[in-house]
Symmetry: C2
Subunit: 533 residues, 2 copies
């Protein structure tokens, strides 16, 4: 079997082979230009045309030049790139297959003695020197004009001190000093469970922050994997071989041997500091200044030739929205199908623009209650995610908004098929509280939490056929279309009519008569049924 | 001023000039092939690539050949074609301008003495001959395999016997005999008001059925113009000159002088016959066999060189869905803005796939109650149309599902912002009743009618800025993008960040510091706020 990418370099070379990488040699300012340039592609190019960027000449507005290049948009600027990242074909089915395998057959990590990510080790007083340690990293400003900070938006590894099981989460670590970062952690995330346990022990929590590496680290970190599962085992499941881990140099933690950069540190359980504004995936700035745990950085280790990987996040679509979408789809599919074991689950789609808020589930309907079992189960999976949950029948293309709106339009009676529920944690959802509200209010607004909406958009009884010609006539038309050399077609479903349970014999008979040219015969049949008004 | 299209021929020649017409000379069977061929383009080509079709060699499965060509998809296969049809630029703004002018400055019709549409007049016993009258028309089967009939899906003109004011509606007339058609009329349509008045007088209702002509006839017939307005006056408003009308030959009615074909008849108020199955714009077959008034055809008049125009309807997108979308948008915009005089109305979008069911209204929000005034007003306008009504702020592109889903995702708390209402007439909505239900049940299911849903997706208090770089940085990036000769961009809104009311001074200050490279300065500020846990 072809092996998975050993490191970032192997992956970047595949991007280049596929013409999926812009290499920018022009000097680019990390505070004002870098992210604005790459942002343009997400607001101005269709998904299938997007590529990754590598900036080889990064400098500061102060004039300082950096040795380390910055790559961004390289993991998931499109579904095609995501598929490359998990060595799948660029189809939903192939990616689902990879995710099912990774989740159902995880592979335990393997310890190694030495690692390229420890080629260079900066620790102790060296961390305070200009151009060393954190200060050597060309971290770009994400949203010039609004961001109040810089951060690594990558994986943070922590450990449950009781079970010893690691958690990897795509938290961000905000850089505010040569040894000081802050941990952006929402109270609903799994990492907080670890932190509370370390706090109870009266000890700081060891942590490793991962920058760069093959795409799988990022993909599993972004997924809502259940508590108590080491996400690197899922990454091993993708690769079909263990992820190599190495002991950290200054803290009791392990880090992936093939990352580009590791930041080691101790997350204080004693001190916290307020945060400031940064951009979030909701499409708005996060402005809550609640207290965040401080990270005392103890070491920065790296390869001799590292690349600083910046994740395009914030306003969707972006790299993080694509990753969140695909991960969520596969995690919810796996939960409903294999854990909750709800019958008839076919597929799950999360809309990239609302990310955690618009979820469409395709089912083979088993009975009238089945859609509600699916809706309630999906709504229950995560405390925060999900506002609109919609269940549709198996003839609806859940990745086509046209098809979903069609189902919502003609298969839903709101008074019968819609339910509103409360009790969710709003997380970053700005609709749930005013920005000046207290932290407690933001955690669970009004004492009832934030709310969601469940929509059963399946058909409720037999329906008449769809109003398209039957398959045989459309297939014949397709032959004539090609014979006439009319322009190429990219057919979307449904492209021919099909029955949905209701089609009485007299209509079937009329339909046969009419294609035989017998219109007056039908007129005679109806004429016999003439009535006086 | 450039005059409006005088007839169909003038319009067809403009389509040709713009490479928007496929001319098919191959023999094509009207029962099994014609509509299936043209249907392919709606399921397989993006809107901006669609064209009209003219079939010059139409034959029957019986082997009979027709002299009259069939045109289909010529009026509204795309917004660009619709714009051509009203002599507008292919932009929303230009089309809105034409519709506002037409509705606010209608032009009364003008009677003429003779008309090309009466070049040939078939009446009396001639109507019964093979290949004469209705029998000469190459009416195609819409949905081979499902349709149980053929019909003209065009404009039917009737008159209020009390006020004398005409109504033009896009009803269909189903052909079942050489002199017999049936009038497909829903109890919620305006035409039924006329019919009831004629019935009270104990007389049959004179009617003229229009086939072919310039696009404006079709566009106004499809619009929800208020009762008591002659739609041909609105067509005159589009043209900036009167529509010429001629006296019918056998009934007391007038018909447009520049149509291709007019079918004259008397709609019985004495006899009705049940219908059978035909395809509807909902995307499903209509299967209700309720009784329809019978049309006794008294004459067929036509030009010497008529074209039979078939409207692509049924499964959306189609020609009729485009027309319904644009008409609805403009009629609702006009109603809210000029009749109801609700302040702050900017634009209205109806989604083409659900047609009458998904309506998004863009407002400049005046106060907290304003969105509900707009929602209730829009929901009240028509008894049948509208299931999802959504109001958004003026920064949302209401024609982009991405933007609408983004607003639904992060500006809505369902428990606070969503209301369900009942009391609508379901019309053709198959979600409202099972196909076997009684006619009374179908008219107003369960005694409560069908239901809709109102969603206030505006922001409810000041929001933080959107998470995109500020305008000045994006504009600078755009310069660099062009300098680097990166691929062409088609920017969508929003492509730069903007404020939404909440942006405290300390965040503004941090954002200035960070683009000046002063990250450690911000770290010091936050460090002073350090707290013990």
């Amino acid at each position: 079997m072809e092996h998975y990418y050993r490191d970032l370099r192997e992956y970047l070379s595949v991007l280049k082979e596929n013409d999926l990488l812009y290499e920018i040699d022009r000097p680019v300012k990390k505070e004002t230009e870098l992210t604005a340039i790459s942002r343009l592609q997400y607001r101005g190019m269709p998904e299938d045309k997007r590529k990754g960027f590598i900036f080889n000449n990064v400098e500061s507005v102060s004039g300082r030049k950096y040795d380390i290049p910055v790559a961004t948009g390289i993991y998931a600027s499109s579904l095609r790139m995501y598929a490359l990242g998990v060595k799948a074909e660029p189809t939903r089915e192939s990616i689902v297959g990879k995710w099912e395998k990774a989740q159902l057959s995880p592979v335990k990590t393997r310890m190694v003695e030495s690692a390229r990510v420890q080629d260079i080790v900066i620790k102790g007083d060296d961390l305070d020197k200009d151009g060393k340690g954190l200060d050597s990293l060309p971290i770009p400003v994400e949203l010039p004009g609004f961001s109040g900070q810089i951060r690594t938006s990558t994986q943070i590894i922590t450990r449950d001190p009781e079970t010893g099981i690691r958690n990897v989460g795509n938290y961000s670590a905000h850089l505010f000093g040569k040894r000081k970062m802050m941990w952006e952690i929402n109270r609903g995330n799994q990492g907080i469970i670890h932190w509370n346990k370390w706090k109870k022990l009266g000890k700081p929590m060891p942590a490793a922050i991962v920058v760069g590496g093959p795409p799988s680290y990022f993909f599993v970190g972004a997924a809502k994997i259940p508590y108590g599962v080491d996400e690197f085992d899922i990454a091993g499941g993708f690769a079909g071989e263990p992820v190599d881990m190495v002991k950290c140099k200054t803290v009791d933690m392990e880090a992936p041997a093939n990352a580009d950069i590791i930041i080691e540190g101790l997350i204080s359980t004693e001190y916290m500091e307020p945060g400031n504004a940064f951009g979030e995936y909701t499409g708005y700035m996060a402005t809550d200044v609640w207290l965040r745990p401080v990270i005392d950085v103890t070491a920065v280790t790296m390869r001799k030739d590292p690349v600083f990987v910046h994740i395009m996040s914030q306003f969707p679509p972006s790299e993080s929205s694509k990753v969140r979408q695909v991960s969520s789809e596969n995690v919810y599919l796996k939960f409903l199908k294999y854990d909750a074991k709800v019958p008839g689950i076919i597929d799950v789609a999360w809309h990239e623009m609302s990310q955690a808020q618009w979820c469409v589930i395709k089912i083979k309907k088993q009975n009238k209650s089945h859609p509600w079992q699916v809706l309630n189960m999906a709504a229950a999976y995560d405390l925060r995610w999900g506002k609109f949950f919609i269940v549709v029948d198996d003839d609806i293309d859940i990745r086509s908004m046209d098809a979903v709106i069609w189902a919502l339009g003609w298969r839903v009676q709101p008074a019968r098929d819609v339910r509103i529920f409360s009790g969710k944690m709003p997380g970053l959802d700005p609709s749930a509280y005013s920005p000046g509200a207290s932290h407690e209010e933001k955690e669970f607004p009004g004492g009832v939490g934030s709310s969601g909406i469940l929509i059963d958009a399946t058909i409720k009884y037999p329906y008449p056929p769809t109003s398209l010609p039957r398959k045989e006539y459309m297939e014949n038309a397709l032959k004539i279309w090609k014979e006439l050399k009319l322009p190429e077609l990219n057919l979307v479903e449904p492209w021919y009519g099909y029955e949905l349970g209701y089609w009485p014999d007299e209509f079937r008979k009329d339909a046969e008569d009419i294609v035989s040219g017998n219109v007056y015969k039908i007129g005679e049949r109806l004429g016999k049924l003439r009535q006086k008004v």
